[in-house]
């Protein structure tokens, strides 16, 4: 076995340990320290790093890692990623609630008492179903359009990202069939059964965090392994120079479709996770700015870099979800001003995209780490020989 593999495995082990440590710390914090700690700690955490916000953050990490496969690895600009989020969410809505009341199906499901009508499938199967369904949609939308130039693809995905939410918003009566319950959305979603001993309702944020963290870890693993393999290299080659890649024997269509399908799959996962997080699906939440927010996460982190993208997702979802609001409240309180800080979202994300493209196209956490791993591996090789 060459040094390369050894290093790869070692660095993989290292991240697994780091990830677990952070997750365990957060769980202990939310489950035990905050409820039992002093009230200032409670207020501080609630205000700046609430459990709900952390869970939402994980949704964004999952989504961003998925989009990273499409944009960061394969270099295909997808401006309508929110469509997969929406589709994934509605799959959860259909399969994990009493919404489709004409049925009474229960597959390892966990309906709340009194809501036994409808389809109830276990959370883990719904994840797979939503991912698969989204992947199929990804292929349907991708197959005819991936042969186009990249900027055209961007527009088609954008169109798709506009149509899908509109379908759900207008979907309470499609020829008499209620697809989505329109603007009222679908709620509640079945509680998740937590390893057989607890039903996770809307307030069990700490346990849900554990489940979401596991899914997120899975996404990280998928991203890393695919990147290191044959397909990952083909994706990067296409990103770097499509024509040269095809002349080196990389089938463009199939490889791009694979990226698109993997990205869509993760989008579906994110959708299900989000649906269980907010205990419902609401069509008007899925708008264009979400697609751009996720794109900004990928760009900020350095396209293609898994760690960078995770950091990007954490920082931006925090700013978007809680940080800007809290910061604004603090500033307005201190200086007795009345500035509408959340409205600066547009400015922040817009300038971020512009400045990143101008000055740090490789993102804030770019090659450095990659280079490090590679050089370690070079040294290792010398030991081996």
């Amino acid at each position: 076995m060459t040094g390369h593999k050894a290093i790869e495995d070692r660095s993989n082990r290292r991240w697994a340990i780091g990830f677990t440590a952070v997750a365990v710390f957060l769980f202990v914090l939310y489950h035990w320290i905050v409820p039992n700690g002093p009230s200032w700690l409670h207020d501080f955490v609630q205000g700046w790093f609430s459990n709900a916000n952390t869970n939402e953050m994980i949704v964004y990490i999952i989504m961003a890692l998925g989009l990273n496969v499409v944009v960061g690895y394969a270099g295909l600009l997808d401006l309508g990623f929110v469509a997969f989020w929406a589709i994934g969410g509605y799959v959860a809505g259909w399969l994990m609630s009493s919404f489709l009341g004409n049925f009474k199906i229960n597959i390892f499901g966990n309906p709340a008492p009194g809501l036994e009508m409808g389809i109830h499938v276990t959370f883990w199967w719904v994840l797979l179903a939503a991912g698969g369904f989204c992947a199929i949609w990804g292929i349907i939308i991708g197959a005819p359009t991936l042969r186009l130039k990249s900027d055209y693809l961007a527009l088609v995905t954008l169109g798709f990202g506009e149509i899908i939410p509109q379908v759900f918003i207008n979907g309470q009566d499609i020829n008499g069939f209620n697809l989505s319950n329109g603007n009222q959305g679908i709620t509640p979603i079945d509680p998740i059964r937590f390893f057989g001993f607890r039903n996770l309702g809307p307030f069990d944020l700490d346990y849900k965090f554990v489940i979401y963290a596991v899914i997120c870890a899975g996404m990280v693993m998928v991203s890393l392994r695919l990147r290191q393999g044959r397909l990952g290299r083909a994706w990067l080659a296409i990103r770097e120079d499509e024509l040269a890649a095809s002349m080196m024997g990389v089938p463009l269509m199939r490889t791009k479709l694979a990226a698109y399908a993997v990205g869509a799959f993760s989008g579906g996962l994110g959708g299900v996770v989000f649906a269980t997080h907010i205990n419902g699906i609401f069509a008007e939440r899925f708008n264009f700015s979400i697609s751009i927010l996720i794109l900004a996460m990928v760009v900020l982190g350095g396209m293609g870099n898994v760690w960078g993208v995770m950091v990007g997702a954490i920082v931006l979802s925090w700013i978007n979800g809680i940080g800007l609001q809290q910061f604004g409240n603090t500033v307005n309180g201190a200086f007795n001003t009345n500035i509408d800080f959340p409205s600066f979202n547009f400015l922040i994300f817009g300038s971020l995209l512009i400045l990143m493209m101008m000055f740090r196209r490789e993102g804030f956490i770019p090659e450095a780490r990659v280079r490090l791993v590679m050089h370690e591996h070079e040294d290792d090789n010398e030991e081996v020989h």
Binding site: L226, G229, R230, A237, A244, M247, M248, G249, V250
Partner: protein, 260 residues
């Protein structure tokens, strides 16, 4: 000797413009042949037909006796036609090693699932690919750059990396598109030796497009001249040197027609 690559009566038209007109051409097995011509003579267009980027308006191309006309570039590449680019087209933000491994794509089998669960077959395949990539990089003399980004390599070494990448396809025919562009005379001379060595070691036939006449005359066993989309001469370097039509094409008034 059999032919590794044969092009029969290739014609390419863009709208009303005839870029390549009824050109037949072959690359004998194990040979080194050159294609030359003034700017706009249709060399690049012809090259693009061979590699599957353009579909010819008429005519056919055979690679190892299989018809490849109109096939996608990646299928033609898989069948054993590899190329380098006039203006280097490496995968800039991938390491030199990865650049080479990309070209092994079509000889590898692992898919999404086997990569995710790391089957023994996938691990072995990856390991072998790494080793082969290292060998190729050492072979072209840039092993020390294996883990550097391709875009950070010195210019001459980028050209070498392009050759290593092309060889990773295990080609039977290697097309070199102006490989000595931007090299000084010493580098060019060394490149000539290198091309011969590659032919011997790797058992490939080589087709060269080149501007530098000294390189062409030194390395080629046969030279074909295109002018304004037509084949105007073919023969040994010495024959070409003295061919009046060739001299006219290069020195006459016809040298600046646009034909891309």
């Amino acid at each position: 000797m059999a032919n590794a690559l044969e092009a029969h009566n290739i014609t390419v038209q863009f709208g009303g413009l005839v870029a390549v007109n009824d050109v037949s051409f072959d690359v004998p097995e194990g040979g080194i042949v050159s294609l030359i011509g003034p700017n706009g003579a249709g060399k690049t267009t012809f090259f693009n037909v061979l590699t599957g980027l353009y579909k010819p308006t008429s005519g056919s191309v055979r690679l190892n006796n299989q018809v490849i006309t109109g096939k996608s570039p990646h299928i033609i590449a898989r069948n054993g036609l590899a190329r380098t680019f006039q203006n280097i087209r490496l995968f800039g933000l991938m390491t030199a090693e990865e650049n080479v491994m990309v070209a092994m794509h079509s000889h590898m089998r692992s898919g999404i699932i086997s990569t995710l669960i790391k089957t023994p077959h996938q691990r072995r395949e990856e390991r072998e690919a790494h080793e082969r990539a290292r060998e190729l990089l050492d072979y072209v003399g840039i092993g020390k750059y294996a883990s550097d980004y391709a875009r950070n390599l010195p210019y001459g070494d980028q050209r070498r990396l392009e050759v290593a990448r092309a060889l990773a396809l295990k080609p039977s025919v290697l097309l070199l598109d102006e490989p000595t562009a931007g090299m000084n005379p010493q580098e060019s001379a060394r490149f000539v030796d290198f091309v011969r060595k590659v032919r011997e070691d790797q058992k490939v036939s080589i087709l060269l497009i080149e501007h530098d006449m000294s390189v062409v005359m030194k390395v080629s066993e046969r030279v074909t001249v295109l002018d304004q989309g037509q084949k105007i001469a073919e023969g040994s370097p010495d024959e070409i040197k003295t061919n009046p039509r060739v001299i006219e094409a290069y020195l006459g008034k016809s040298g600046v027609e646009g034909g891309h």
